[in-house]
Assembly symmetry: C2
């Protein structure tokens, strides 16, 4: 690679000093129109591109943020929702010329790497994904005082880490209400992990609607994976064979529940109605297609990025953002 032009070369070509070039580069005040034009021309001629390392060295800003995925390794990304979030984040950040580094935080080694990365000053901000309650990483980040936001609340840290999220509780109410309206009498639920906001709040919404009828016997827990949906459904069927509906807290788990129901000879929705949550891409591929709750994932991602950038720009504290969900009726309920 030929030696790249530096700010010196540009200054020489434009017949001005380094300082003036730097001022043009950073849109500083006090640059005469003539100097400005000369510098612009010299930049174009030389093909100059600023060296971010040199800049970061003095400004202490990096122009990049790191997204931390906290799932255990096998599960990371199993959920297609990640894709939407990542894509959206990259786009929005890109528009501001901020680049996105992705790191995994599935085990202690990973977490240590993340801490070293952030402590090393390589990111201006942190975007937390699927962080579970009690994750030690959160405390570490907090102590470093680096701008951090989460996509979906971090349980127990709602007032510390700003976040954007879908209205999980209300979404669960929407689905549960719908099942009730359809005349279902024995409605069960498969929740997500109880250390995640989606796990907790979707169960709360379910209970809000059913009240005393949401008995222990009708509740099973999964871990968002399809397999866990299958086995949770099997446990429910064994315990309460006469259930006539189940609200599953994610589409992927719902897909698992559908297989179990099919294997058990239950017709969906005739014998058992199934409601999902997410409206992710799997919802349309299941058989029958899944009636589900759409969360505005792209918007959640956009808001998360917006919050982070606001924080990085030093705009003081920011408030969480909750976005509303919508019932999508297909064929499973």
């Amino acid at each position: 690679m030929a030696k790249r032009p530096t700010i010196h070369d540009v200054a020489a070509a434009a017949g001005v000093s380094r300082g003036t070039v730097s001022r043009v580069l950073n849109d500083d005040r006090y640059v005469s129109p003539a100097a400005h034009a000369a510098v612009r021309r010299a930049i174009a001629e030389t093909g100059y591109i600023v060296n971010r390392n040199a800049r970061s060295l003095v400004t202490q800003r990096t122009g990049s943020v790191v997204m931390v995925l906290s799932e255990p390794h096998e599960k990371v990304f199993e959920d297609p929702n990640y894709s939407t979030t990542i894509r959206t984040a990259i786009r929005r950040l890109g528009e501001r010329d901020v680049s996105l580094v992705i790191m995994l935080a599935g085990d202690d080694g990973d977490r240590e790497r993340v801490v070293r990365y952030v402590r090393g000053g390589h990111a201006d901000g942190v975007l937390l994904m699927s962080t579970h309650a009690g994750d030690p990483l959160v405390d570490e980040l907090e102590s470093m005082r680096i701008p951090a936001v989460a996509c979906g609340a971090v349980i127990g840290k709602e007032n510390v880490i700003p976040y954007a999220a879908a209205d999980d509780r209300e979404g669960a109410r929407q689905m549960t209400r719908y099942l009730v309206e359809q005349g279902r009498r024995k409605i069960a639920t498969i929740t997500g992990p109880m250390d995640t906001p989606g796990g907790i709040q979707r169960l709360e919404g379910f209970a809000d609607v059913l009240g005393r009828k949401a008995s222990r016997k009708l509740i099973e827990h999964g871990d968002w994976t399809q397999l866990s949906g299958e086995s949770a459904m099997a446990r429910l069927l064994e315990r309460t064979p006469d259930l006539d509906a189940v609200f599953v807290a994610s589409d992927l788990m719902a897909a698992g529940a559908l297989s179990t129901l099919r294997a058990a000879g239950r017709r969906v929705p005739d014998d058992v109605a199934v409601g999902g949550f997410d409206d992710s891409s799997v919802a349309a591929t299941t058989h029958p297609p899944l009636t589900t709750i759409r969360q505005p994932l792209a918007e959640v991602a956009e808001e998360t990025v917006r919050l982070l950038l606001a924080l990085v720009d030093g705009g003081g504290p920011v408030d969480p953002v909750i976005l509303s969900t919508r019932l999508i009726v297909r064929e499973s309920a």
Copy 2:
């Protein structure tokens, strides 16, 4: 954030000079055991972490690589295969303390951003994903002489950009042969885009087995999306109502084909056998579960990363890697 310790502080704490600390940091020769120990201790005491910017400024190495996703925006990530690749890449790179920046290259603006990023020296290497034939970005990268590899060949640049890939052609042969062995007589195919290796080579493999029987009438093209699978299947059915099998070049498109077949009242596999390709997560959720070809995605990703690191480390030219596929029989064929 409290002022971070620098190499000076460590040197002072250890009672040695900057040079010695730097030597310890970089595993240089010629450091006495005593000095080594003192420096190690001082690093631990001060909580020192090297500043990569300062280091990059002099070494011209960044410790990060950029993954470029070349799909148009709407489609990026629709395919669950991306997830596996990204996850694997992050892990393998992380082990070497190399971080992964992800950029989109869906339109010209994006591509320009990528070029600026790379030209600006912010990455040690480039990992190309789903790059289509004739993508101008490839020429630009080539002219910059930055180490670049692709996950899946770049059509027309097979000898320029090293790559790791599954043996698409042989995989397609495996599936086609299987359909023939099952007694299917009129076998159609839905291909991927004909400017991608998967699109081209899976069709070639199909044709290898069927020879003259692979007539134009039995070939339709999709663009990897589920929707395109649906419509391609519809066109095939209209043109050749008596087909009794279809090899679909991706699971996602196969899921689409299944819906169309179901809507048309065809039973799978009784009336029409369906074979997919990828063995991605959707393959298990379809109804019936998809008989498909497994590509060793994680291995492909690992090999891609290995190639890139070898190139970055300057180990001279590297050879493409082709990994073999395997038939997974489920219920759709």
